[in-house]
Symmetry: C2
Subunit: 239 residues, 2 copies
């Protein structure tokens, strides 16, 4: 996590130590395992060390909405910080390793490291912006654009750690999971993926996706990369 935050500001030793405190424990989860269910009472947050996860809600009609996929370096469970119970459930897409820590630890950070807390707040706002983008995508664009948009988001986020020139990446998601993130059925996701392939925008090889025509892909989606840069000019001084 310290590594992630260091992308945006230069951390002081004291800040680095405070962040290190949060990553002392480790817990492993198997592919498909539920880290935390909806309505659970847990007071824990998690930092992802390894693997992909997603957070989702289950609806009374039996369907599911995936809110966000989580990669190494992400903090998951933050959304439930403000509530007594967990508001979503967290599931491992692949085998994963997480570092759990208690809410109270975050209070310490807020108390002692104003700049870190403002930065964590900023990152949370970037995630919220990304959620808003997804809402716009699901609410107001075609099925094909929604799928393309999700691919663009995954690509942009993987590039943060995988290099800005990344064009080919492994997607361990089932088409049903992609559907649950984009508000589509698995069947229709399949057709839209095929349509993207047929039009030469992407290529697929098993679960590996290669971007063939990034310009046309992003143009079709009006995608905005929320992770490229944050405005850190307003942050208070470091301690």
């Amino acid at each position: 996590m310290a590594e992630r935050l260091a992308h945006y500001v230069t951390l002081t030793p004291s800040e680095e130590e405070a962040l290190g405190q949060l990553e002392q424990q480790e817990r492993s989860f198997r592919r498909g395992a539920t880290v935390r269910g909806e309505n659970d009472l847990g007071r824990e947050l998690f930092i992802v060390q390894k693997g992909w996860l997603y957070s989702c809600v289950l609806l009374s009609n039996g369907s599911r909405q995936i809110m966000r996929f989580h990669f190494p370096g992400d903090v998951v469970g933050v959304t439930s910080l403000a509530f007594g119970r967990s508001i979503d459930s967290i599931t491992a897409v692949t085998d994963a390793v997480l570092c759990p820590f208690d809410k109270d630890r975050l209070a310490t950070v807020f108390e002692e490291h104003p700049r870190l807390s403002a930065l964590i707040f900023s990152i949370s706002l970037a995630e919220r912006a990304s959620l808003a983008d997804r809402l716009a995508s699901v609410g107001r664009t075609s099925a094909r654009a929604r799928v393309a948009s999700l691919l663009c988001e995954l690509l942009a986020r993987l590039r943060v750690t995988g290099g800005a020139d990344l064009l080919e990446f492994h997607v361990p998601l089932t088409q049903e999971e992609i559907g649950d993130a984009t508000g589509l059925t698995a069947v229709h996701v399949n057709r839209m993926m095929r349509s993207l392939v047929d039009d030469g925008l992407i290529a697929r090889n098993g679960s590996t996706i290669r971007i063939l025509d990034e310009a046309r892909l992003t143009a079709e989606v009006n995608f905005i990369n929320r992770y490229a840069q944050l405005d850190t000019s307003w942050l208070p001084g470091a301690r």
Copy 2:
């Protein structure tokens, strides 16, 4: 705003003063006016004194997605805090009065009032949860449920200031605006509203809506009130 935060914790005099600092200026906007456009450079946030507003994004296909409606006491523009430019535009639904303040003022709050900043963070997380609920609604439920869900959300939020027994409220929104919030066309919003009226769930009189059968309405939507209570147990000590 101090009044709003006082719902969750008892503010210290020093905290109250810090919040008062944010509400020193006032600016008025006419119905339909744009407070701040997408991509604007402004470093301002706003506290709503009077009126309804919404924040939305415009898509390249000409459509619009409304992210959230804002009422008196809300802080608007927070989402753009983390970015150099505004990520959404803010428009006045009715004549409105706002108190603008600069990002830097918030930095001061983060520096000097850890509990307030954690609380502001929590409220931002509650808004994010509400956005997630909307996404689930738009992505995975029927048109009728989406409209009903929006009505439930408005009702729950108006009750925070209007009293818990509120059943009848004025909705200054056009059906097109409701459609842009729920991912529907104005025509279909109209049909769904009619269907809710025909089934005896709500009654309409001009732009006033009365909830006739709240139990059935909320049951149809699996609505969760994100504003009723926040978990403040983890907050750091006050200053």
